[in-house]
Structures are given as C-alpha cells and as structure tokens.
Symmetry: C2
Subunit: 412 residues, 2 copies
C-alpha cells in the first residue's frame, strides 16, 4: 500500500521488459503496434524495450509473412523459442516425463518412460530424469541456452526448496527431490518444484481453457484427485503452499471408501481411478489410466455395470464440484487428468448436483469444461514455473545464468 | 505487471498519505519515529504527510502523556476519532444496529432494536436504520464529519450497487437495499453493502483474532452459517462477489436436514441455530440465539440431551472445518456469531475431526479460535467498508464529500 518516492527509471525499465517478454511468451508473436496497445506504452518505448530484448537474444523482429494490407508492414516481435528454453519435468505415479520447452511455450523435444508403481525411490527417479535431461541438452542447437528448470510432482511440496513433504501414492515422505534433481542436473540452476494439480491449474489459466478467467477451479484426477484453484488471478496456495487439497474434502461421511490419507469418504477415494474400476466390478482385470479408459468406453457401448459405475462416480464428483462452486464462486471448473475422460460421460450427474446444491446466484455464470492442454497440462505448468525467473526480470536472470548454463550444462 | 513511466510526485504523495492514515487508523496512535519505521519512509517525509493530514482534520499531533524517557519526546500522531466518523449498519435476522464509528475504529455511539423475524420488508428496515442514523448524527459534535457509510447484511450482495440478491432468512430476493438506504440517508454518499460473514472476516483480519494472518477462515453462525475467507491477505469474493458460501457445503448426503437454500445436508442445516435446538429436543420452547445459549448452558450443567446435541453439532462442524483446512491451508480458523458460543463446548469433536480428516502437513500450524470482536465483528466490518474510500485517497475523498455531508446530513 505504501510507496517509496524515487522509483528509478531503471526499475521502470525492468518492469516494462518483464511485461513485454511475458506478453510475447504467453500471447505469441505480435506487432510493435499491438504490443504498445496491450501494454499501454507508446511505440518508441516498445521499440527501445524490444531492442534490449533482441540484444539479449530473447526475442527477434521479423517482417510478417503477409499482412493483406497495403503500406509499410509493422515488424512482428517473436520469442526466440529455439534459442531460449527451460527443462520441464513431470513425475507421475506411473510415468516420468522430461521436456525441453522453448520461450513462448512450445514443447521442442521430450523423453518419457512408464514406471512400475511400487518402490521407486527418489534417487532412481532423479537418475532417470537427469538422463533424459542430458539427452535433451545434447540435441539442443548450438548457441541455445537453458534458462530454468521446473518439475511437477504428485504430492505436497514445500515452497522454499522443492522438498516433497508427502507423496502418498509413491510412498515419499520428506524427500529432498528439488535439491537432488538440481544437483544431478549440474546446471547451477535451482529446480522449482510444484504440486502437479497446482501447476495444471496455472497452465490452464495461462494457456488453456482458463485464459481470461480470474477465478477457476481445476480438478486433476489420477490415482488420487488433486486441485489447483485460481482466486483473483493467483494460485491459492495457503500458509505453507499446501492449499487446494480438494481430493481430501470429505463427501461421504457414512460408508466412505478408505483413502490413501488414512481417512475415509474423501472425494479422491470416491472418484479416483480405483473407485471407478471397483464400482464397475473389474478390479481383478483392470488398473490405472488404461483401466479408466476401458470402463468409460464400456459405458459408452452401453455396458450396464460400467454405466452404473460412471453414474456413481459422477454423483460424488457432482457433490464435490457443487461444494467448490459455493465456496469459490468461480467462472470456470476444469476437469483434467483422468477426469477429462470421465467427466463427459458423467456430466448429467454432475450437472444435476450443481443444479440441486449450488446457490442459484453462484451458478448463474459458471461453466464446466475439460482441460484444453490434456495430459500435458502438468508438464506445461512445470515449464511455466521454470520460466518464472526469466519473465520476472529478463536481463538480470540472463546475467545470473552460469557459464555452465550457457553451453553443455549437464554433467555426466 | 506493467508499469507506466512517469509516476508523478503527486501520485506518490497520495499513496503515502493513504498508507500513513491507514497505519494510524488500524494500528492506533504512533510517534513519527515509529511511523517512519513501519512505512519505510524518512522522518521528513512523515512530517510533511502528517502536516497534510492534520490540515485536512484527519489526524492531530500531541505530546505523549508520559514516555518514561529523558530527552525531547517524539510527537504522537492520532486519528481524529471524534471529528471524522462513518455510519455502520448491521442488518441481522433478529436485530437492526446502527453505529457512529470514529476514524481509528472506535464505536462512538450506537442504536439498536430487536426485530420480529417474519415479514420485514426492505422499506421498513431502511426506515428504522435511517431513523437511527438521524439520531446518531444529531448527537455528533459540531464540526464533525461523516466520511462514509457501510452496511452488513445476512445474504448474498451484488458488489457494484449493494443489491441484496438473495437473503433467504429474511425472504429478500433482488432488493435494492444499498441504493434505498443511501437515498433515505440523504448524505450524498453511497452505502457500501457487504455480506455479514465477509465483513466479519475482514474485521477479524484487520482488528481481531486474525491480525497478522494472511490466510484465515472465518465461520459465522447465526440462523444460517456464513463464511469469510482471507486468501493471501485478501477476501475471497469470486467472480461475482458471492464466494465463501461455506454454509452450503454439503456434509451430509444421506439423511441431511433440509436447508433454506432448497438442498439438504448443507453445513448450515446441520450446525445452524435450529439444528442445535432440535437436536437437544427443545424445539417447542426455545429459538434463536437465546435458545442456543440455553442449550450450551444446559450442556455445561451436564444435561444429557444438551451434551449429546452439542456433540452432534460439533461433529458436523468438525467435518466442515476439516474440509476447509484441506482446501485453504489457513493459519487460523475463527468461530464467530453463535459458533463463538458453541465451539468451546464442541471443541473435542472438532479437534477429533481435524486430526482424522486433515492432511498432517496442513494441520501442522493451524490454530482454532473464537472471534475476538464477538457480536460486533460484522458491525466493525461494515465500518471498515465505509472507511475504505477515505483510506484509499484521504484528501480526494474529503474533497468529494458534499456540503450535506459536512453538516447536518440526514434529511427527515
């Protein structure tokens, strides 16, 4: 609320460089005229800022391919997507993913591997991810530069240092995942770690179904059900960064299914992967995401047990969603992860619960949609986390990159 | 994110005047030295700002009564509590309250009346409140000045114009309460209207149990149960201002009690006033807040039915609180309204549910407390809403006050 006098020209320039780079990173290539308009700055300021970012190798200016208009065309400012990239990692219960993501958000290259569910310790996971990173680096063009690293993890993450406090579905408690991955990458860069559903929400908010919404709820279904909630344009993270645990909202206090957290009747126990497979009576033959798909497909073919199972999950999901709409008065609810596959078949139950249980005024304008980024939402969120430092202060972030970060950064 | 160059000295001065006035309004009288320290400004700047606010009649400087130190004492800057005030209104199901609240937050004078529950329309309520306001004004000192008006209402309020969209417990739907009260006051000032639980949360956050907490959940029990949730230091209001409806979180999907919203098993149906009285088997003889007190007292004396009723309500309350802690990872949960009386007797049940249903990491640091402002929390919140304009831009707000606002403002 308070403001010191003497905010310097240098501070203003940094702030404007940040705004401009963020604009082309999230909004895509744009003419100087359009950028001036969107940022509320005059064209000569945009010209100067663009020159600075071009000199730093972060953007380039090009003639547009064809404007369709007569007269001198305005130069288009593009992010240097091939030259400047981050490493993004996604640690899921059943899959490990690493990607090179260019400025502007393009996934340039990726490596991934399925995991057996049980018994992977942090060293093994970090080893696989560092191996992926080494190959991704090797195949990056000469002169390209790694500007950050970020990781999504399916558990509760300490904000300061990327410590996994609790990852029940992989059996991790207090594992120094972020620190260890940073050490093994050897880039001289920290690895920012976030909860997968938080990052999925950020990604949908910045690049997916939630663009333009200031208040949204993202539900991420997997083995468990996580959440990311955007309130007033910002992720709700709470006092320690552990907010949005909507999967542990108790919805069934009487005959609730046991939950991985030790309680019963939590939303994730009632609508997670195993709940659907069990409800369809196919516990012995199916499991995981493939199992969910099989049940949803069977329901689509009219299989009675599968339809009843989807209906049952949809009803619990609807109670959870109704509670969330009453609490957050969001403009949008997004179903991601495996819920992206379940929701379209269960929409009738969800809508019925919303109609019955949400206050009329709070459901006036809310929309329900599936994730636009699909299975990549969490990976894209990890990339955005990695870009955060560069976007906040572009020139300073570049200056701080170590020589190791500039060339062949991953030690063997 | 973006910042225009050329932020003027005048803008900086306004921003600093706002910060200084807010500091003495919320933090109380303070020496120039302390203010310089808290605001991060140098003493000569503080001196100039204080002179401006003194000339406007908003603060005054005094010698401290006794510093206990040798040497020249530092002048103390005090808000002009008697001279500059707002009108605060609180419309409850069973009570109407109006108060004159001085800058600095002191309740200088108040009028109130009990209401019969049924059938009060908006004109009748506004008439009573305007009558109260007339008397409060008449008894204000000569030369004092009304700087704003705010009202708390037990329902869902449209942000822009104080329209009551839905006030189920008084049977109001789409009533132009804010506009009509402003007209009847004749001050040439708008009346800012807020949901009572939102305002209770703001009041506790700024002046009560929640000072210093950036993330807190306030539960306000009355006929219904409302909520105000502070996320990152700001009220969660959602897309339309209708967020925080924690009373309509469904906790009991099987044999839930009917709720005023048309659904069943909502938190407010299970823990509101009537739920407690019914559970104690005293529906025929007791009602309202007095009825709640009677049951809680009986439980304290060992009455078996009353103890069982409090235990039952405590268990549902605990489920609701556990869900909220999982979602918001707050530092603090505050029980206000009638829950301030119920919670101390039901704490064992609430704690048991928190222990069983909240993820261990999210309950590491959360505290549960009763409201510090007690029954005045909502009224104090209405006063803060009324002060918001003056605090945001002190000199401009004063300049905009009409001549009517300066003297005897309430037309008959």
């Amino acid at each position: 609320m308070m403001m010191r006098a003497g905010r310097s020209q240098e501070e203003i320039r940094r702030s404007n460089l940040s705004a401009l780079l963020r604009q082309v990173h999230l909004g895509g290539p744009a003419s100087r005229a359009a950028l001036a308009d969107r940022l509320g700055l005059n064209r000569s300021t945009i010209k100067g800022l663009t020159a600075d970012l071009t000199a730093a190798g972060l953007v380039r200016e090009e003639l547009p391919t064809d404007t369709g208009k007569a007269g001198r065309p305005s130069l288009v400012v593009r992010p240097e997507s091939e030259r400047v990239y981050v490493l993004a990692f996604d640690v899921r219960v059943d899959r490990l993913i690493a990607a090179r993501v260019g400025l502007g958000g393009r996934i340039l290259d990726r490596r991934e591997a399925a995991r057996r569910r049980a018994g992977a310790d942090v060293h093994e996971v970090v080893g696989v991810l560092a191996g992926f990173a080494r190959r991704l680096h090797r195949e990056a063009g000469a002169g390209s530069q790694c500007a950050g690293a970020g990781a999504a993890y399916c558990g509760m993450i300490r904000r300061d240092d990327g410590m996994v406090r609790f990852g029940p579905n992989m059996g991790w408690v207090d594992q120094a995942f972020g620190t260890e991955l940073a050490f093994r990458l050897g880039l001289g860069l920290p690895v920012a770690v976030g909860n997968e559903a938080h990052l999925g929400a950020l990604a949908e908010h910045q690049r997916g179904a939630g663009v333009g919404f200031q208040n949204l709820v993202y539900l991420h279904g997997d083995v468990g059900v996580g959440g990311g909630i955007i309130v007033g344009g910002k992720l709700l993270d709470g006092d320690g960064g552990y907010g949005c645990e909507l999967g542990h909202m108790m919805v069934n206090p009487y005959d609730g299914r046991p939950c991985g957290c030790g309680s019963r009747g939590c939303l994730e126990a009632e609508v997670g992967e195993q709940a659907l497979i069990d409800a369809a009576g196919r516990t012995a033959e199916l499991s995981g995401r493939d199992g969910v798909r099989a049940v949803v497909r069977a329901a689509g073919r009219g299989d009675v047990a599968a339809r009843e199972a989807v209906r049952r999950i949809g009803d619990w999901l609807g109670i959870g969603v109704a509670n969330l709409i009453n609490l957050f008065n969001p403009g949008l609810v997004i179903f991601g992860g495996m819920l992206r596959e379940v929701y379209p078949r269960a929409a009738a139950q969800v809508h019925a619960r919303v109609a019955a249980n949400v206050l009329a005024i709070s459901r006036e304008r809310v929309r329900l949609r599936t994730s636009a980024l699909g299975d990549d939402a969490t990976l894209v969120g990890a990339a955005e986390l990695a870009f955060a430092g560069l976007l906040a202060d572009p020139l300073d972030a570049l200056a701080r990159l170590t020589p190791a970060g500039r060339r062949d950064p991953v030690s063997p």
